[in-house]
Symmetry: C2
Subunit: 254 residues, 2 copies
Amino acid sequence: MLKKRVDKLGLFGLGAFGRLIVKHLSPYFDIYAYDPSPQARAFARRHNVSMVSLEEAAACRIVVLATPIRAMKALLETIAPLVHPRALVIDVGSVKMKPAAWLEAALPKSTYILCTHPLFGPQSARKGIHDLEIVVCPVRIRRLNPILRFFRETLDLKVSVATPEQHDKALAAVQGLTHLIAKVMSGLEPLPTVHTTRSYDLLMQGIGLVAGDSDELFLSIERDNPFAAEVRRRFFHEIDGLRSRLETHDGNGK
Amino acid sequence: MLKKRVDKLGLFGLGAFGRLIVKHLSPYFDIYAYDPSPQARAFARRHNVSMVSLEEAAACRIVVLATPIRAMKALLETIAPLVHPRALVIDVGSVKMKPAAWLEAALPKSTYILCTHPLFGPQSARKGIHDLEIVVCPVRIRRLNPILRFFRETLDLKVSVATPEQHDKALAAVQGLTHLIAKVMSGLEPLPTVHTTRSYDLLMQGIGLVAGDSDELFLSIERDNPFAAEVRRRFFHEIDGLRSRLETHDGNGK
């Protein structure tokens, strides 16, 4: 089902990640995109993407939701009556428990649901997606193997299968901390570019990969992942300990 | 002066960095080390390093101070009367303004003083020191060029010449922030090793390079660099802003 060029893919959202989807999936699917923003229309014209109505995008046999998490629940309720009875609906958000629950609750029982999180973005996939990881949560799926094969063999991704909960637990630290630190560091700019250490260079490279991500994504990672608050609490607790340790002795000359 | 095998080099301190010095300078110098710790004696036996008295190490024409910053001032006052009148005394600490002032104040006017900061450590130099950077502050030097040539051509380092103040300003952010973040992250262990992003991997690699550094080095970077407190103040200020922003909305379900 996934390899034939004739397949129609309805794509909701032509933001940063939606554009990456267009880049990597347009060789394999006819993409019908829905995104009412003017920037999306301009992008679609430049990249020869068919912009369609919400109804047309929702009616495709494969539907990919690449909207911000915040917008997903309302969108799902709007499109649920419009989707094909055997549609495969896929989301690509940075958290998985909330979308998985929303998708299951909103969509007809006859539809298939695959929640995914490609662990990369426009920056880390700048030179291609070879060997980058996608986490796949099979929420309601009949034939998972052809899809996994498509990800592995056709897109050349590293595929991990996990439950939404396993995903959110790991990513609460992985993304929660990375984005938190990136946010703090971006507030300190301009930062040095000379006399740098290898350690600092690597840190800055890592931060650089998410520095262009939207504030909305940051907030979603911090708030929509149910495990993020606890990771953050521990992060701030460590900070407080270090701070009082350093400030206590700051006055002492040596 | 620096290239002849016969030169004697008195090395104070056989800690992590002193050992790196032994590794990279023993092809060019006869190293006479002084370090009263039992670990240093064991290391010296294994690596065929001559352990000598404080007096003998201080009397070498080249003296390298690789002790913790904290110990340097007292050591300098002890060895000042013992150094050769035309000795070249070099330090390798992670801050430069304090050691430069101490060296100048303590050592006879006839001696030469070169403050340096090799911007690498045992981890980042694990695969060699090719093209790694050393910052050189010529505090009291007659012939700098042969020394720079030795660093550049013989050791294959990237050499930057700077004042102690220029050094400390840049490194307050470079090292101050890297070590601060590394300390916080180490307090959060165990951290995830699966479902990681490229951004997180780079961050963890960067942190990993300083994770083995001593707590003493961390404290020195934070306290002995006169610009570190201000960088830290701004870092904590950003953290506070982010924290109150996230906590304000944490209760709101979406």
